[in-house]
C-alpha cells in the first residue's frame, strides 16, 4: 500500500486547510454530515461540519455524479429546432468517501466510459476531485471485506485520509492529489503512520459480521433461477425501489421530456429508475417482462451478484445501504447464503 509514493501527515486543522484550499480553488466541497439520525453528503466549508466517524450516508456520493434527477438540455421549436446544452458543471470535491463508495465510483466510471460514452456523467466526473477516508468503524451491515472492496483501498481517490489516532495519514492517489498535498506544505509521514494504518485495517477486518463472498456467486445464482428463495423473499418485498435507489452501483435511468405550456419548448430530463418498479420492464401495449414481484427482486439481486447484464459494473460493493433502507428487512447476503445452501 502506498508503495514508493510520498506520504504526508496532518492534524484536524490541516484537514480544515485542505477544505478551505479546495474551496478557494473553485471547488464546491461535499462531505458526510450528520442530520437527524442519518448522514448525508452535503456542502461543507469546514471539517467541523463533517463526522469523520460516520458509517454510511443515505444516498451514496453517486448522487453528485449521476444525480437522481437532472435536466440534460433545453429545447425549443421555432423556425428550426434549437437545443441548448447545460454549461460545464462546476468543480466538485467529494471529501470523506469510504472505500466501498470509492470502488462503486470506479465501476460507474468504467460503465459510463464505454462506447457510447455518457457525456453528462463524464463531464461531471472530470470536474470531480475525490478525497477518500478509511473507515474508523464497521457496523452490522457492512460487508465490503468479503466483496474485496474494503476496508483497504489502493485506487479510486486523489487523496486518501486515514485517522491513525494521533494524526491523519494522507496518501496521494493521483498527480492532482500529490500536487495539492505538497502545496499545503504538509509534512511527510514516516513509516510509523503506515504501520498504524495497517494495524487499524487489521482491527477493522476482525469486526465484520456480515459476508457475501463473490467467488462463484454469479454463476451459482444464474443456475438457480427457480430456487424457492426468490419467491419466498418476494412475499416480503414491497417493490418500493429503495434498495436500488440507495445503491452506489445501480445506474439505470429513465429519460423523458417535459413540455412547457406553449408546447414549443421544454426540457429533457433524466432520472434514476429502478428495476423493482412494475413500470420498469413495461413495453408498448402493456407488455411486461417482469410482471411478477419475484422476477424483479431476482433480477436486482442477480445484478448485484454480478450475474446480470451489468456484470461487474453494477455488482455489489458491500456498503449495506439496501439492507438498512429496506422496509421489509430483506438482506441480499442472506439470499446469497441460501443459494449457497446455507439454510
Amino acid at each position: 500500500m502506498g508503495g514508493a509514493s510520498q506520504l504526508f501527515k496532518t492534524d484536524l486543522e490541516g484537514l480544515d486547510r485542505l477544505i478551505r484550499k479546495l474551496r478557494s480553488g473553485g471547488y464546491v466541497v461535499y462531505g458526510p454530515v450528520k442530520q437527524g439520525r442519518s448522514w448525508f453528503f452535503l456542502e461543507i466549508d469546514s471539517v467541523k461540519q463533517v463526522d469523520l466517524n460516520y458509517v454510511r450516508t443515505v444516498l451514496p456520493p453517486k448522487k453528485l455524479l449521476h444525480p437522481p434527477r437532472e435536466k440534460l438540455f433545453e429545447f425549443k421549436l421555432d423556425d428550426g429546432f434549437e437545443v441548448s446544452e447545460k454549461p460545464t458543471p462546476s468543480a466538485v470535491a467529494l471529501f470523506g468517501v469510504h472505500p466501498c463508495d470509492l470502488k462503486a465510483i470506479e465501476r460507474q466510471d468504467e460503465f459510463f466510459s464505454q462506447t457510447p460514452e455518457d457525456p453528462y456523467y463524464l463531464a461531471r466526473r472530470r470536474n470531480t476531485l475525490i478525497i477518500g477516508l478509511t473507515c474508523t468503524r464497521v457496523d452490522e451491515n457492512c460487508f465490503c471485506l468479503s466483496r474485496g472492496t474494503g476496508p483497504e483501498v489502493s485506487t479510486g481517490f486523489d487523496i486518501l485520509i486515514t485517522d491513525v489516532g494521533n494524526g491523519y495519514l494522507l496518501e496521494p492517489g493521483s498527480a492532482k492529489g500529490l500536487e495539492l498535498l505538497k502545496s499545503l506544505g504538509f509534512q511527510e509521514a514516516g513509516d510509523e503512520y503506515l504501520e498504524a494504518k495497517q494495524k487499524l485495517i487489521e482491527e477493522l477486518k476482525k469486526s465484520f459480521t456480515k459476508h457475501m463472498p463473490s467467488e462463484g456467486l454469479a454463476e451459482l445464482a444464474k443456475s438457480l433461477l427457480d430456487h424457492e428463495v426468490w419467491k419466498e423473499t418476494a412475499e416480503r418485498c414491497l417493490s418500493c425501489g429503495n434498495c436500488s435507489l440507495v445503491c452506489p452501483t445501480c445506474y439505470c435511468f429513465d429519460v423523458y421530456d417535459v413540455l412547457e405550456l406553449n408546447l414549443r419548448s421544454g426540457v429533457r430530463v433524466r432520472e434514476l429508475d429502478s428495476c423493482q418498479l412494475l413500470e420498469y420492464a413495461e413495453v408498448a401495449l402493456g407488455g411486461n417482462f417482469r410482471r411478477n414481484r419475484f422476477q424483479r427482486l431476482r433480477h436486482w439481486m442477480l445484478c448485484k451478484f454480478g450475474a446480470a447484464g451489468g456484470g461487474l459494473y453494477s455488482s455489489c460493493v458491500g456498503c449495506g445501504r439496501c439492507i438498512v433502507y429496506c422496509p421489509a428487512s430483506i438482506d441480499l447476503t442472506e439470499v446469497a447464503g441460501r443459494l449457497r445452501g446455507g439454510g
Binding site: 439520525r37 412475499e235 408546447l263 412494475l278 422496509p327
Partner: protein
C-alpha cells in the same frame, strides 16, 4: 382549434378545482390552448357539450350523480377523474363502513329527504380515460394531462411508490429509521413526497401504487406497533374503495 374543456363536480370539497385555479401565471398560457366551456367555479357562463376533455371532481353518492356523470361521459371525448374522490370515492367513501342511516343522522337533523347511495369513484359508472390521483392532485400532473390530450399522447403519471420521489430528495426514511407508520411503500407517487420532505409520514393520499404488496405493508405496520384498527383506518382513509384496497379495508 382550442380544446373544449368542461370541469364538473360531484361529492367533494372542491380542493382539486382550487388546485386548478392555483395555476395563476400559467393560466393565460393555458387559455391559448383550451377554452373552458363549463366550469361553475370559474365562470357563471356555462355551455353545454360536446367537450374534448372533461375533468370530473368528486365521488358519486346519489342517484342523480349517476345520471349526470353518465351524461357527461356521453358528451366528452376524453374523461379524466380529477382527484381521489373521483378516482376511488376518496375521503367521502369512509361513510361506506357505517350504515346509511347512521351517516345520515350524524349530518342531517331531518334525513327524510336524503337519497344517497354507497360512495364510489366515477369509474363504477363510466369509462375513465385518465386518473389524476391525489388529494388534491398536484398541478403539474393536471397540466400534464392537458398537454397530453392536446398532443394526443399518453400522459406521464407516476404509478410507482412515493419512496422513489422520497429517495430523490434524500429524506431520512421515516419507516426504517424512525419506525413511523409511513404509507410511502404502497402509495402512488406524483406528489413529490411533500409530506416526508417536511418530516411527516405519507398518509397515502394518492391511493395505491401500481403493484402494492399490501400483505407485507400490513406486517410492517404491525411490526412498528400499530393495532389492527389503526391499520384498517390507514387503508380506508383515502382509497378504501379502490379495487386494490377493498380487501384490506374490509369492505
Amino acid at each position: 382549434m382550442k380544446l373544449k374543456v368542461g370541469v364538473f363536480k360531484f361529492t367533494s370539497c372542491s380542493g382539486c378545482q382550487v388546485e386548478l385555479i392555483r395555476m395563476n401565471e400559467q393560466l393565460p398560457e393555458l387559455l391559448n390552448l383550451v377554452e373552458f366551456k363549463y366550469w361553475a367555479m370559474a365562470s357563471s357562463k356555462l355551455e353545454d357539450g360536446p367537450y374534448d376533455l372533461a375533468l370530473v371532481e368528486g365521488a358519486i353518492s346519489t342517484p342523480e350523480c349517476i345520471e349526470e356523470v353518465k351524461a357527461i361521459r356521453e358528451k366528452s371525448r376524453v374523461l379524466v377523474a380529477l382527484g381521489d374522490c373521483a378516482v376511488t370515492g376518496g375521503v367521502p367513501s369512509i361513510r361506506n363502513w357505517m350504515s346509511q342511516r347512521e351517516a345520515e343522522t350524524i349530518v342531517y337533523p331531518k334525513p327524510g329527504c336524503i337519497r344517497s347511495t354507497r360512495v364510489y369513484g366515477i369509474d363504477e359508472y363510466v369509462k375513465v380515460d385518465y386518473y389524476l390521483k391525489g388529494c388534491p392532485p398536484r398541478l403539474e400532473n393536471i397540466l400534464e394531462v392537458f398537454k397530453a390530450v392536446i398532443l394526443g399522447v399518453k400522459p406521464r403519471l407516476r404509478q410507482h411508490p412515493v419512496c422513489v420521489e422520497c429517495k430523490f430528495y434524500e429524506n431520512e426514511c421515516l419507516l426504517t429509521t424512525y419506525k413511523q407508520p409511513c404509507m410511502g411503500p404502497v402509495t402512488a407517487a406524483g406528489c413529490g413526497a411533500i409530506c416526508p420532505n417536511v418530516g411527516r409520514v405519507c398518509e397515502g393520499c394518492y391511493g395505491p401504487m401500481s403493484d402494492p404488496n399490501i400483505a407485507s405493508m400490513v406486517e410492517r405496520l404491525k411490526e412498528i406497533g400499530l393495532s389492527d384498527d389503526e391499520i384498517l383506518r390507514k387503508f380506508r382513509k383515502y382509497a378504501g374503495m379502490s379495487k386494490l384496497y377493498r380487501e384490506v379495508a374490509k369492505l
